[in-house]
């Protein structure tokens, strides 16, 4: 038993008679558009902060999508994008050996100095 498969492309609405190619090459769809991480700088002098992620076919489109998705309400003046696969993250399972050894090293904080009067905050 074989099924005739009907192929739908970006922009087709399944019930309006579009999607006319049968069994052709794979479409560019959400399934194979890579994921991108978006970093937004809200104003001059501040750092870019991670804002979220989105799908896009390439860097150019990722920046445009980020503009439309993450800066609709004046949130930013600069956008960075990086493909998510290029982000390397620490392993949560290694948190103990990674972070806890710092816990008892109080001397790493500059709390043993006497601050001059003039310095209010540090």
């Amino acid at each position: 038993m074989s099924f005739q498969s009907r192929k739908f492309f970006y922009g087709d609405i399944p019930d309006d008679g579009a999607g006319d190619s049968v069994n052709s090459q794979p479409s560019i769809s959400e399934n194979n558009w890579p994921l991108w991480e978006v970093f937004i700088r809200s104003k001059q002098g501040l750092d870019h902060k991670h804002a979220g992620s989105l799908h896009a076919a390439d860097a150019q489109m990722a920046i445009e999508n980020a503009r439309d998705v993450y800066t609709r309400r004046m949130e930013g003046i600069s956008i960075w994008v990086v493909e998510s696969k290029y982000i390397h993250a620490s392993n949560p399972d290694e948190a103990e050996s990674f972070y806890e050894p710092a816990n008892d090293k109080v001397y790493r904080h500059p709390t043993f100095y006497v601050l001059p009067e003039a310095v209010k905050n540090m």
Binding site: F9, Y10, G11, D12, I13, A18, S21, S24, Q25, S27, I28, S29, E30, W33, L54, H55, A56, A57, Q60, M61, E64, N65, R67, D68, V69, R72
Partner: protein
């Protein structure tokens, strides 16, 4: 509409033409809202819709203030009938597939940017200010739609086939962009409006460049559809207005 012609002001017909263009294309694009299979592009096209509808509001408000007699932006958008709308036919055509939508947006944004830039230099302060604000939005519409035309035209076999089909479908509606109407010529003579015929060469040059990059063939400038500015529309506009105006027609003065 009876009113004292003041040569220092744009004629209502001219403003309505500009406003109707923005409203009708904004409405067409808004049909994608919630239907784009990719969230990010759904938001992009909806943003463009909102920009265009925003532009139409400024223009309707200005037209209403010139027309007086109780006209408001709402009465101009919701209570005029098909024959009174002066938008280009290109803009009322069904949204089609994504290729048709982005190609139409590209054709029109490429036209609008030239028109707004020219308007910005003209004598009417209000219209020049509206143009200045709209330019920033339009530059982005142009960039976004151009990207898509190139991406699809020079993409896969399927995307290129669709883009070529869209070119065949839309091309004969582009000539109307440059056919000046009486009200445009009148406003151009008083240095308030722009004669669209003067934008033609630059528009073709830009389109030619983008088509080359998109591996599309520029059709010859032959016979063209026209009539929109005189209120002679395709059958599609009536359906748009039926949807757009239903609430105000069924429940006059309704607010929420």
């Amino acid at each position: 509409m009876p009113l004292a012609p003041d040569s220092r002001l744009p004629t209502p017909d001219y403003l309505l033409h500009l406003a109707d263009n923005a409203l009708i294309l904004g409405h067409r694009n808004s049909e994608w809202c919630g239907h784009g299979p990719i969230l990010e592009q759904d938001i992009a096209i909806t943003n463009i819709s909102l920009d265009l509808i925003g532009q139409s509001r400024y223009l309707y408000q200005y037209a209403a203030s010139i027309m007086g007699e109780g006209a408001t932006e709402d009465s101009l958008a919701y209570l005029r009938d098909v024959r009174e709308f002066k938008n280009y036919l290109l803009l009322e055509l069904p949204k089609g597939d994504w290729a048709v939508t982005v190609l139409r947006q590209y054709f029109f944004s490429q036209f609008q940017i030239l028109q707004y830039r020219a308007l910005q230099q003209k004598q009417d302060i209000q219209l020049s200010a509206i143009a200045e604000k709209a330019i920033k939005e339009t530059v982005y519409h142009l960039r976004w739609s151009k990207e898509w035309v190139i991406r699809l035209g020079d993409g896969t076999e399927e995307s290129s086939r669709r883009m070529n089909k869209a070119v065949d479908y839309l091309w004969s509606y582009t000539g109307e962009l440059f056919m000046p109407s009486k009200f445009e010529i009148a406003c151009a003579e008083t240095e308030i409006g722009v004669d669209p015929a003067t934008l033609k060469d630059e528009w073709y040059a830009s389109v030619q460049q983008v088509f080359a990059e998109a591996a599309l063939t520029l059709p010859s400038q032959g016979w063209t559809q026209s009539g929109g500015k005189e209120g002679v529309h395709t059958e599609h506009l009536g359906f748009i207005l039926a949807e757009l105006q239903f609430m105000q027609r069924a429940y006059p003065g309704n607010e929420w």
